[in-house]
Amino acid sequence: MLRYLLKRSLIALVTLWIIVTITFLLMITVPGSPFSDERSSNETIQANLEAHYNLDEPYHVQYLIYMKNIAMLDLGPSIKQPNQTVNDLLGRGFPISFELGMVTIIVAVISGIVFGIISALRHNGIIDYLSMGFAVLGISIPNFILATLFIQKLAVDWAMFPVATWSSPAHMVLPVAALATGPMAIIARLTRSTMLEVLTQDYIKMAKAKGLSPWKITFKHALRNALMPVVTIMGTLLAGILTGTFVIEQIFAIPGMGKYFVESINQRDYPVIMGTTVFYSAFLIFMLFLVDIVYGIIDPRIKLHKKGGE
């Protein structure tokens, strides 16, 4: 297991390095600089500013300086947010984004699996048709449309929930609902179809022949086998929810990472672009690693630390 962990960490580092390099290359190919739109400043001030942020150096030197800083976990100062480092921005915004993302994932996974199971057990019944109909809607409607719809109807017209911001559980309801609907629908459909397949397997029939209750058969024998595909798409869903939070945070005025991330690109705030990209990549890589571990727990046939079948 230790060897596996070591191997995975090494691969993660290489992946991160590739991401940093590509982001850096993309950034320098885009024309302009953080100061190009400041009309008032004269050339001396511009030159001084660029020297301060090492922007006057040749690209390879800038790259090396950045790599050195990042190795010491210093993501640099923000150019546009005065007196703040990227580490400060992340420290302030990320916990909120993380909370939004995690609550969304938990809601999406639990409700998706529950709807999927009910649909599979009541296969071709009214509940099945209804929930699968909603699932198609959930997959098709983008979360920003849902968000604005929720705000208009549930917050403005019927005043059931706060319109925006992030301070109490009531504030969470609308953004989480908007963000979770898509992933929930995907998980529900997937759980339904794999459950239906698993329920026809011989071992389910065998469990019935042992006289086990339907409850035990569903949760002990069927669900565990049906969860594998769900775990598989968790990686992709995580990435989707992560980027989804940027949009949802904008709509609900939630002070998370999304605002900085989007603004930094418009303003060419190089250190913030790099810092958030690196941080989110590292986070995603870590989550995917967790998904792989969960695989091994659910299905004993998958051994992480051994090569080939045994």
């Binding site: 071992y203 029939k205 065998m206 042992k210 006289g211 086990l212 002990k220 024998h221 565990r224 086998n225």
Partner: protein, 335 residues
């Protein structure tokens, strides 16, 4: 002899978009205590459906026991509620499935799967269950049972898995064991071992066995009585001796002729044609179209049961009392 199971006029139908399939069409069967009854027949003749009906494991919808009774120790199982049936399954009647590769849940340990039935039905502690589990694994011939309990199905070979499936079926000491093609998925040497195991278990526990198979070799090895099934009906029943040495139904004869033999050279004789479509089964004897001895009446009316002896019965017009009996010599003279 005491009858442990008696099936009377059992009909099972499956309703599909294409129509209603009459998979089992009036099966009469009985099983004595401590005996092994083999139900033989080709694929799709309704033998598995009959055994699933006894367990009440016919998927509903689309399947349905539309008529008939199944008496197990005097109780009519067709009238049992699903809840009451759950107290019978695995305890009084258990089932062994065809393919050991798919009959075990890949995500649960062998021990969990072996003990769950016991824990559910018999009020035993975890340590008692484990003791019984190890005892069962020894009975079915699995070495190092204590270690093996903690392993997963993929760590077992096919033969070992089938032994585990058998252990799971007999752990609650059932009185009736239904084995649905228990050796079909195994290679021949393992087949022989598993069949021997059935004999041993029966000797030790006195369990009655219904063996579903299309392999007459398997039947010859362990069955006491044989029921031959064709197109949803039992067409001939008898002791092993009756059916193997004195088969009376042309279909039974055809089946026996189509078994390859080591002591005879020459071509195998298959039965020509295919079984009838059970969406619209024929009114008369379903074998008529393939039968070399078919008469006009065969196509029109289904033959009643002719009792040849206490143990041997057949449904064939050739054996009907009203049929003309001619001696072999006179028959050859007339040609």
């Amino acid at each position: 002899m005491e009858k442990i199971l008696e099936i009377k006029d059992l009909h099972v139908t499956f309703t599909t978009y294409g129509g209603t399939v009459q998979a089992v069409r009036g099966v009469n069967l009985h099983l004595n205590k401590g005996e092994t009854l083999a139900i033989v027949g080709e694929s799709g003749c309704g033998k598995s459906v009959t055994s699933n009906a006894v367990m009440r494991l016919i998927p509903s919808p689309p399947g349905k026991i539309s008529k008939g009774t199944i008496h197990f120790k005097g109780q009519n199982l067709t009238e049992f509620s699903e809840k009451k049936m759950r107290m019978i399954r695995g305890v009084d009647i258990s089932m062994i499935f065809q393919d050991p590769m798919t009959a075990l849940n890949p995500t649960l340990t062998i021990g969990t799967q072996l003990m769950e039935g016991l824990r559910k039905h018999k009020n035993v502690s975890a340590s008692e269950a484990k003791k019984k589990a190890i005892e069962m694994m020894e009975l079915v011939g699995i070495p190092n049972p204590e270690e093996r309990l903690k392993q997963y199905p993929h760590q077992f070979s096919g033969g070992m898995r089938q032994r585990m499936v058998i252990a799971m079926a007999i752990i609650c000491d059932p009185e009736l064991l239904i084995a649905d093609e228990p050796t079909t998925a195994l290679d021949v040497t393992i087949q022989a071992q598993i069949l021997e195991l059935f004999g041993e278990i029966q000797k030790k526990t006195g369990v009655s066995i219904i063996l579903i198979t299309h392999d007459l070799g398997v039947v010859a090895k362990i069955a006491h009585r044989i029921a031959v099934m064709y197109a949803g009906k039992i067409i001939e029943t008898g002791t092993k001796r009756d059916v193997f040495y004195n088969p009376q139904h042309p279909y039974t004869k055809g089946l026996l002729n189509s078994v390859p033999r080591l002591d005879e050279r020459g071509k195998l004789q298959p039965i020509d044609g295919t079984p009838p479509d059970l969406f619209s089964p024929p009114k008369g004897c379903p074998f008529t179209a393939r039968c070399p001895y078919a008469m006009e009446v065969c196509d029109k009316v289904y033959p009643e049961q002719s009792v040849l002896s206490d143990s041997h019965q057949v449904n064939c017009w050739l054996q009907d009392k009203r049929a003309k009996h001619i001696l072999a010599e006179s028959a050859s003279k007339s040609f």
